[in-house]
């Protein structure tokens, strides 16, 4: 098994800053936009995005955590994954939702998240922001609107994201080859 570092500080901060610039360019407003981080690891990326956006626009955006475990399409087809908490303390009805996740691969988790989100209302618009886009790995017709880095990977390879918030020494994104 080999592991290759594909993204870390300071390039990671530059990437986050650039993604925020793109969001601002697309005219996001704190009054009508909410940010939803996807459990388990998208929540850390969502916090970073929200902080950076807050700094650049001198305001704050509501951030929530969405867990889509109960909406997965592989339930009873693989070992159960214990659910994580969902914490959305605002309404998403008629809001512009920026769905944030660390890695986009098959697109199945995003599909589940879109379903899970319906329980909280009907958003006006949903956009997807991911840190790593594993192109050519998609099982579903889903694409991200904002991409930190595109990586061409084999299905046998894995992208591992380590955040400081999880107790790691530094933020590192690895490509693992079995």
């Amino acid at each position: 098994m080999t592991r290759k570092l594909i993204l870390s500080s300071p390039l990671l901060e530059i990437t986050i800053s650039r993604l925020c610039q793109e969001l601002i360019e697309n005219q996001i407003k704190d009054t009508e936009t909410v940010i939803l981080g996807l459990q388990p690891r998208g929540i850390y990326f969502a916090e970073r995005i929200a902080n950076e956006l807050g700094k650049q626009l001198n305001t704050s955006f509501p951030v929530g955590r969405l867990d889509a475990t109960f909406f997965r399409d592989d339930y009873r087809r693989r070992d159960t994954i214990a659910p994580n908490s969902t914490d959305i303390s605002f309404l998403i009805e008629n809001k512009r939702v920026i769905l944030v996740d660390d890695v986009l691969a098959t697109g199945r988790m995003v599909r589940a998240a879109l379903d899970a989100m319906n329980s909280f209302g009907r958003p006006a618009k949903v956009e997807l922001c991911v840190l790593i886009d594993r192109i050519y790995n998609r099982d579903l017709p889903i694409n991200a609107d904002y991409v930190g880095k595109s990586v061409n990977t084999l299905p046998t390879e894995k992208v591992l994201v380590e955040w400081k918030e999880q107790g790691h020494e530094a933020d590192k994104i690895w490509l693992i080859t079995q």
Binding site: D67, F70, D79, T80, A82, S85, S119, F120, G121
Partner: protein, 305 residues
């Protein structure tokens, strides 16, 4: 992941599994507070609720939990069925399974009935109460409700007061509480406390007042007259005099305690009305948590396929 494909009792459940069920239930409670309270997880699962004994709360709670998980459900009650014509338990259940049912939620008057079924059939089995033996989902929802109020239960003093002898809720709760490291004291007339129950690591008392002073939470049980073939005490009135809990008793305690009851309450017997409706009581929280806990149990069991 749970180690067994069935939930037959708390006795065979390890602490890790209790923890997993409670953690999952917490997430389901959040789901139940959403504007849309339904998830699609069990959409390809069919569950039969097979009740050979009467039930209000447990049956409604299971049924609602199943519907919130998008499962298909069928209901069976012994009254008005072919059981009256002499059909055996195994034949009845096998006939239900022939209709492509994946899970059985069963209540039965005979202790061990779900264990017997588990040996002979393929579906997942959830014990919804077997005679005077166990009522695992009640103990799990009691654990969850207690944890909400008291946090980690290790080292906490919990009392179970009333008809311990005929109570499946008492036995399941003793197992669950001991596995989590709580101190358990049983209180009731000596005729209603099983002999040798101390071998489960519990204390026994016959004095309600000192028990209430000792505990952080009291789980009060109903006198199960329907299971009593002989007289265990002179009269309900006398029982109520010695073992009934009133609001005045709760207010005179040096600290605030949590009051629980698995239902149905016999107001004026084990609990006075003002005690049952007092701020100490979490009886309706228990009912609310029951749906979330049963969703967690069904979700975790069905995931094994």
């Amino acid at each position: 992941m749970l180690k067994s494909p069935h939930l037959l009792g708390i006795k065979d459940l390890d602490e890790e599994s209790i923890h997993l069920i409670v953690k999952t239930a917490k997430e389901f409670k959040e789901v139940l507070n959403r504007p849309i309270k339904k998830v699609p997880s069990l959409r390809d699962v069919t569950i039969a609720n097979v009740f050979f004994e009467n039930s209000t709360r447990t049956r409604l709670s299971f049924e609602l939990a199943e519907k919130r998980l998008s499962a298909d459900t069928i209901n069976f009650s012994a009254s008005g069925s072919s059981v009256k014509k002499g059909e055996t338990l195994l034949d009845t259940v096998n006939n239900i399974l022939a209709m492509k049912v994946d899970m059985i939620v069963m209540r039965h008057a005979s202790p061990g009935a779900p264990h017997y079924l588990a040996k002979h059939i393929k579906a997942n089995i959830v014990n919804a109460g077997d005679g005077t033996h166990e009522h695992p989902t009640q103990a799990l929802l009691d654990t969850y409700s207690l944890q909400e109020k008291l946090g980690d239960l290790a080292g906490k003093n919990i009392a179970i007061i009333g008809d311990i002898l005929h109570s499946r809720v008492a036995l399941s709760n003793i197992y669950a509480l001991k596995k989590q490291g709580a101190n358990v004291r049983l209180c009731g007339p000596s005729t209603l406390i099983p002999k040798h129950i101390q071998s489960l690591g519990v204390e026994v008392s016959h004095d309600v007042k000192s028990t209430l002073e000792w505990c952080a939470a009291a789980n009060v049980l109903r006198i199960q007259l329907e299971r009593q073939q002989i007289k265990y005490f002179p009269s309900l009135r006398e029982y109520s005099q010695f073992f009934g809990i009133t609001r005045k008793m709760l207010e005179e305690l040096p600290k605030e305690i949590v009051l629980m009851h698995p239902g149905p309450i016999n107001r004026g017997v084990e609990l006075s009305s003002d005690a049952a409706d007092s701020p100490h009581s979490i009886i309706l929280d228990q009912v609310e948590n029951g749906v979330a806990v049963r969703m967690a149990v069904l979700y975790l069991l069905a995931s094994r396929g």
